[in-house]
């Protein structure tokens, strides 16, 4: 990439050397762009420090570990332990991944490998349409369609499959499950799109080689496509997870806003993001409440950092294997 060093060395103007004046814009551009990149780092640093600084009173009062791992979010007593929110965030995200990623990857495989070429465009478009639907519209739809329509099915599931862990008992309308389901739909297009892109980069020779060896389409997928794109798929899933963890509005509408840990997936709950959306207008004058919400934001931020690290790890490992 040291293409800028093409200039000839030594005295005298070589044919290859550019006139000095034309190098000035190059320098300016280089420094400008570097400054921009540095600026973004500075911004993120300020962002993090500001959040940490403003969250500090909450950590100081409750302790970092107690803040995250104790179960008591009680605004009226000004006691803030965020475990119910952390648990809610994790449960909804896990449900979202469990439902969303397999469907997304299957869709990507079907579109890139199986479906007739003339359907490829329309199918891709339709899956991408899901990404065009804003969070708040998912919430609207979830609240007025999913919650009432799925309630009987959920109650049946709860009554008949009570032997499963985290199932059984009366079904609340808004719940972890509904929130997870909506998140699954919301992460589907992004996971599917990235998986598809990755699959499209599988060299044609790999596919052709597998087919030439007499593999069926599915075997070709298993032998050539999946191993090659595993890293990308893991990355896509991680991106989906990041989105699910931080998704706010749709979840706020259908989670039930109860800062307790539900006993089963059809119970109401709360997530970190939803609690911030609901409470940060009220916290402006109560310093400890505000600090607690910023601390919740910080926990969210750290969760996404961890997810990012994990994504990088998976991608690296995938690269080594692939």
């Amino acid at each position: 990439m040291e293409a800028g060093a093409v200039t000839a060395t030594g005295g005298g103007r070589s044919i290859l050397e550019r006139p000095p004046l034309s190098r000035l814009p190059d320098r300016l551009l280089r420094w400008g762009l570097t400054a921009l990149a540095a600026g973004v780092l500075a911004l993120i640093a300020y962002f993090f420090l500001r959040l940490y600084n403003d969250a500090h009173p909450a950590f100081a009062r409750f302790g970092v570990l107690d803040f995250v791992f104790r179960n008591n979010w009680d605004v009226s007593q000004e006691v803030f332990h965020a475990l119910p929110l952390v648990v809610g965030t994790l449960i909804t995200s896990v449900i979202a991944l469990a439902i969303g990623v397999p469907v997304a990857v299957a869709t990507a495989l079907y579109v890139t490998e199986l479906c007739p070429p003339r359907f490829r465009g329309p199918l891709t478009l339709m899956v991408e349409l899901l990404a065009a639907v804003p969070s708040v519209v998912y919430g609207l739809w979830g609240f007025f369609f999913l919650v009432p329509k799925l309630r009987p099915a959920e109650q049946w599931f709860s009554d008949n499959l009570g032997f499963l862990p985290f199932v059984g008992g009366p079904v609340a309308g808004p719940s972890y499950f509904i929130a997870g389901l909506i998140l699954a739909i919301m992460i589907l297009p992004i996971v599917s799109a990235i998986s598809r892109e990755v699959m499209a980069t599988v060299p044609a020779e790999h596919r052709e080689a597998a087919l030439a060896l007499g593999a069926t389409r599915w075997e070709m997928i298993r032998m050539a496509v999946l191993p090659y794109s595993r890293a990308g798929i893991a990355g896509a899933a991680m991106l989906g997870l990041g989105r699910a963890i931080g998704e706010t509005i749709a979840v706020t509408i259908v989670i039930g806003n109860a800062p307790t840990i539900g006993h089963q997936i059809f119970d109401q709950g709360y997530t970190l993001a939803a609690v911030i959306a609901n409470e940060f207008g009220e916290a402006a004058s109560v310093p400890i409440h505000r600090a607690a919400l910023i601390a919740a934001a910080l926990v969210l931020f750290v969760l996404t950092l961890v997810v990012n690290l994990a994504a990088r790890y998976f991608v690296r490992r995938g690269e080594r294997i692939g």
Binding site: G246, I253, L300
Partner: protein
């Protein structure tokens, strides 16, 4: 890869089952889309009328609920400002990463933190802007449209940067080298070769970011907040479609819920138009 045995019945069956499963999963993925579009059209079209687009929300408890004019205008204003901030900066950073940074330590750190930013939930950006700009009363007021734009721009920046970096990386090095070999300075190579080649992709990334920002509620709730009146003053509290919908969702009044559906249909159509334009641009420049 080892030589495979001739096609057995079992392998054929596995293949068929696997294919059917993948097709079924694809069908399943489209079910929510169909349902959402059906409900949007069914409930949303019912709310539409001329006055729906020419009146501001009235806020009246009885009588007409009014329309969504201020919400549409607010969304357009705030997203336009956010785009004007985020796109040049985002593409600039991507250019740095691809053209200068390469694999350097600094570039890796930048890349990593842009990644981190992608993962930051939009509500956290909203909170950040709230505590830094709104509570501090920057610009002489508390809630303001431009503060909403800043929150949206923070959200868009990493999306633009990431997608731009991917696209710029796809520009073949041979093109750059050819131009440099012809004696073109670096900036001209970028302006005349790299950016035009990458333009469709940059456009797509930008429009995706715009579409994402247009639909975001969380960063706006406590930066631009929800108001009824229309305003061109970006330093005043400003309405927006998503925030208006969020306010109307969960309202027990049918006419407000209906307004939410009408606004939702409007918002989704706006986003679809953006996406369609993106595709057309992409197609055209591919031909050129």
């Amino acid at each position: 890869m080892t030589m495979l045995v001739p096609l057995s019945a079992r392998r054929r069956r596995t293949d068929r089952i696997a294919r059917a499963t993948l097709a079924a999963a694809t069908g399943l993925a489209l079910v929510p889309l169909a349902l959402i579009l059906y409900y949007l059209l069914k409930k949303g079209l019912g709310a539409w009328s001329v006055s729906f687009f020419t009146e501001d929300p009235s806020g009246r408890f009885f009588g007409s609920a009014g329309g969504i004019r201020s919400a549409i205008l607010g969304t357009v204003e705030m997203v336009a400002l956010a785009t004007a901030v985020a796109v040049p900066v985002g593409i600039g950073i991507a250019l740095y990463l691809v053209e200068y940074g390469g694999g350097s330590r600094f570039a890796q750190v930048v890349r990593y933190f842009v990644d981190v930013m992608t993962g930051v939930p939009s509500i956290v950006f909203g909170l950040f802007v709230y505590i830094t700009l709104v509570l501090a009363g920057t610009g002489g007021g508390s809630f303001a449209g431009w503060k909403g734009s800043i929150a949206l721009a923070l959200l868009m920046l990493p999306i633009v940067t990431r997608s731009a970096e991917v696209v710029l990386n796809l520009v073949p090095n041979s093109l750059r080298e050819a131009a440099l070999a012809l004696g073109a300075p670096r900036w001209r190579v970028m302006a005349r070769v790299v950016l035009p080649t990458a333009l469709p992709g940059l456009m797509t990334g930008t429009l995706l970011a715009v579409a994402r920002a247009a639909g975001e509620t969380a960063p706006l709730l406590f930066t631009a907040t929800v108001v009824q009146g229309m305003t061109l003053n970006l330093n005043a509290p400003m309405n927006s479609l998503p925030a208006q919908i969020f306010k109307d969702v969960g309202q027990a009044q049918d006419r407000l819920v209906q307004r939410a559906w009408g606004a939702a249909l409007t918002l989704v159509l706006m986003i679809l138009v953006l996406t369609t334009i993106a595709r057309l641009v992409q197609r055209r420049s591919r031909l050129a």
